[in-house]
Symmetry: C2
């Protein structure tokens, strides 16, 4: 399946990242040989999606451990912790990153005698396998919500679970079409979602972000599915900016709005308003792929995520089923 | 004032259009020497906004009349009517185009003895002056709705009335900021509105189309203003696609949503649903300034306008005042 894994080790001391910003036009490979390069790659959005960001950062921590091991000075937990902090600081909104970093440090501490890089790698391999299982289970749960003839609107790239949802629906003989918002400024909807669905043989139509309500008002959309970068215990969801306005419009036009929630909420985040919203470089809005699109005196603003309150969400789909947002804490 | 007039005659037999698709990066001038070239320029969106499209088409009809007059065969009303039909077929959603073409043909018919090109030009010169008066009067009415400290969200380019609104507010000592959606796929909000407001010294911030609800939810926006390509007698408004979702979000988040309605409704269009929505070449969505942004199997859809129902509109601002949408028929 496209986009399920875009990060892999080359030998023992280098990480290769397929630069998602350049897909589908080119499959550019970026080599990272230490954790700082990995952190920069994450900041520059070469990887995308809360789960993939976490895994990539995990490989960054692995490279930091390898570096210490090569120097034969033995493991310095303080240095490893610094590397983890650097990697955690890359993207504040998703919660998988901090959770995985915490888990990796914890495991290394517990097995003080073992080789840190091997301990980290074992956890990452397990996480990778587990992430695929979660995507498949979430896709299977989401598929039960679809009726043959539905057209699904989706925003940004909602992860492999979205692709599995379409795959299973097809296997079950359901005719499901996709409409994808392009998702400015990084165009993940156009470059990742529309591309991968169309390559799977799904009837896929691209629209700009401002056409969603029109399509809804014309009866062209039966269901909306997006992912979540973080789900709070109150059922609020942080996801790619634009999710909130899709949810408002879906509610106004009486269209079910679902979140692919994968593993469920972040138990340490009680309320949606507690989720930090990453603000990125305004230049990414002022420019389109490097070309300025307006005058020099214009400022720009780039919040990368928004918060959708639970009352606008029909259901949150996780591995264990479809949950009412207000009950996600007990899911 | 920027963008008040981008079309003018050079001598008696050529029309110069400043290509709005290239602003603000270059002020490319396009020469048209017959009405077919003018029609193509309109179709290709070198001019923008219902009023400007109508005036440009008027100059196209003038060129058609000049062509006949140069050939000394005398005026053939059937040929002039054909030229008017070609020009009318360029863009179906705005209503000013058909109204002006009808008026120009009517005037030529009435003054059967006169020189058609001169009759047409006299009407156009009057329309141009009248259009400026309407923009100023509308801007003056709209300005009364603003309170110092307001930030106004606007979409696409809402015409010179919007610029006058900001100008008058500034003259009256009101501190008003602007947030502009970029307005994909043609980026009129970034290229025309944000540019011209910032050049007027207004504090102007650009966002992508999917950030509007987030900004509203954060209390960053006090009022929304857009234009109308056509107002129906039931108070529904056709405007650049994306207007509907701004209106839905504004209502949900309790923010006043105003339409700059200039001259008011189209008396021949009873209901919003009667307004034809222009669908443009999907390639304009699949590509960004000529570069494909997704895979080859992806389709695209490009409705250029949408319809906002009267119940989502706080007020329609015309030369005569601010009207409740449901009462616009008697305005």
């Amino acid at each position: 399946m496209h986009l399920e894994n875009n990060v892999y080790l080359e030998g023992e001391d280098a990480l290769i990242i397929i630069d998602r910003r350049k897909l589908p036009r080119s499959e550019a490979e970026v080599y990272c040989t230490d954790h700082v390069e990995v952190a920069r790659a994450i900041e520059q959005m070469m990887v995308q999606g809360a789960g993939d960001i976490a895994l990539t950062a995990g490989y960054g921590l692995y490279l930091a451990a390898r570096e210490m091991e090569r120097q034969d000075d033995g493991l310095d937990m303080a240095v490893l912790k610094q590397a983890a902090d650097r990697l955690c600081a890359t993207r504040p909104t998703g919660f998988h990153l901090a959770v995985l970093m915490g888990k990796l440090l914890e495991r290394v501490r517990k097995h003080a005698g073992g080789k840190a890089s091997e301990i980290i790698l074992a956890v990452l391999n397990k996480s990778l396998a587990r992430q695929r299982e979660i995507s498949q289970a979430t896709g299977r749960q989401a598929e039960t919500l679809l009726a043959s003839g539905d057209t699904v609107l989706t925003h940004c790239f909602a992860g492999a679970g979205l692709l599995y949802m379409f795959k299973y629906a097809k296997e079950n003989g359901k005719q499901i079409k996709a409409i994808c918002t392009e998702t400015r400024p990084y165009l993940q909807g156009a470059r990742l979602t529309a591309w991968s669905l169309s390559e799977m043989g799904i009837d896929t139509t691209l629209i700009t972000d401002n056409m969603a309500a029109y399509c809804m008002s014309k009866g062209m959309i039966q269901k909306v599915f997006t992912a979540a970068d973080r789900i709070a215990m109150d059922g609020a969801v942080a996801n790619k900016v634009g999710t909130l306005q899709l949810a408002i419009c879906a509610r106004h036009l009486d269209i079910p709005f679902y979140i692919l929630g994968y593993g469920g909420p972040d138990r340490r985040t009680l309320r949606g308003n507690d989720i930090p919203i990453e603000e990125r470089d305004p230049r990414e809005v002022i420019e389109f792929q490097g070309t300025p699109i307006t005058g020099e005196r214009v400022k720009a603003y780039y919040p990368a995520f928004d918060i959708t309150p639970p009352e606008l969400i029909t259901g949150i789909v996780t591995v264990s089923g479809v949950h009412k947002p207000l009950k996600i804490a007990s899911a």
